[in-house]
């Protein structure tokens, strides 16, 4: 029986490699799908998520980077609370256009750049705080190590990294998780907690791809880069909102 299952799995892997795009190419496609969706839903997203998350107020004064900022409501809040300079970075042009308006409206000392989290356009030792609020969960596992290395490069000594990601322990993912586990066992999926979440609007349905990491997985990657974790755990930023994982780490 065991041999039969192994042989079956090998055959499926062979078929899969013929059908699917291999490795990074397929993962980049996930990133591009999500980017396209955020471009399309930018206005609706900005009005839906109009209040900053309290965790952003923990930023230390100095240069703040809001990476994967969306319309940058968290970065702006952090800059206001600490009287600091903020740079909002997102790969969606529409999101950054809204961020620009918010920065002007709130009279915050800040800038905005359209860029990708996988290739940040900054010199080393640039920032005192890096905010990654609900953004790193759009990055496939394959690229996570590249991101943590880059964060370490652009963060200053004694600088803070504040990360939040969706928790995978949510009832809405139960069925998907079950099927994903089977797909992963058969070799059809690389990461079992890859979920496609739909955004429905008048203009249509847009898909966003999420890679929901566990607290341990993210912590391991952070610690691998010699960043010291000050606090970590689960929290809900708003009433009725779903549970999130948070990590606050320091560069010694």
């Amino acid at each position: 029986m065991k041999k039969f299952v192994e042989r079956l799995r090998e055959n499926i892997l062979k078929i899969r490699s013929r059908i699917y795009m291999r490795g990074p190419k397929r993962l980049i496609r996930d990133v591009l799908i999500t980017r396209h969706s955020y471009e399309a839903v930018a206005e609706g997203y900005a009005s839906w998520r109009s209040r900053p998350w309290s965790i952003s107020r923990l930023s230390s004064p100095g240069n703040i980077l809001d990476l994967g900022s969306g319309h940058c409501i968290n970065g702006v809040e952090a800059a206001l609370k600490t009287n600091s300079y903020v740079v909002c970075v997102d790969y969606s042009v529409n999101m950054i256009s809204i961020a620009k308006m918010i920065i002007f409206k709130k009279d915050v000392y800040g800038d905005y750049v359209v860029a990708d989290m996988l290739r940040t356009p900054f010199r080393e030792n640039s920032f005192n705080t890096i905010l990654l609020i609900a953004s790193i969960h759009h990055i496939p596992e394959y690229f996570i190590r590249r991101i943590t290395s880059d964060l370490n490069r652009i963060l200053r000594r004694r600088g803070l990294i504040i990360i939040t990601i969706w928790s995978w322990r949510q009832s809405r993912f139960v069925f998907d998780l079950f099927f994903n586990m089977i797909k992963t066992f058969l070799g059809l999926l690389d990461f079992p907690r890859r979920f496609v979440v739909k955004w429905r609007s008048r203009r249509g349905v847009f898909e966003r791809v999420y890679y929901l990491y566990s607290l341990e997985e993210i912590s391991r990657e952070i610690e691998r880069k010699n960043l010291r974790i000050l606090s970590r755990g689960y929290y809900s930023p708003m009433k009725r909102s779903s549970e999130n994982i948070y990590i606050i780490a320091l560069k010694d």
Binding site: V93, S97, Y109, V113, A115, P121, R123
Partner: protein, 129 residues
Amino acid sequence: MDLLACPMCKTFPLKLIVFNRNIYKREFRGRKPVCELYCSFLNKEIKDLKERGEEPPCEECFKYEVAEGILICPKCGRWYPIINEIPRMLPDEYRREKEDLEFLRKYKDHIPEEVLKRGLPYNLSSELK
């Protein structure tokens, strides 16, 4: 500009060419010099300015936003457009050839020949022969 580096090769600083700029009535708050390493307004390093005892004109710089311009990496030859005051520092895989070529054509009188002929990821070499 004091923080921006090339997303592909991480070279710092980048060369800035301004096509148009907007002027805002803004009050300068903060300590001078605002930039730590590089003053793009004067195109000089801060340490050189300090050695000469010069002060960077932060109040003046603070009034301006680059409306349209281009950022050029002196090492790898990549260029990044600034459109509607927003720098677009996307890596090659996200760039759209049609939009990029349109940008180059629109501002070709302001862009150095080197970028027009050999700039990455796209250039006008085929049109300029």
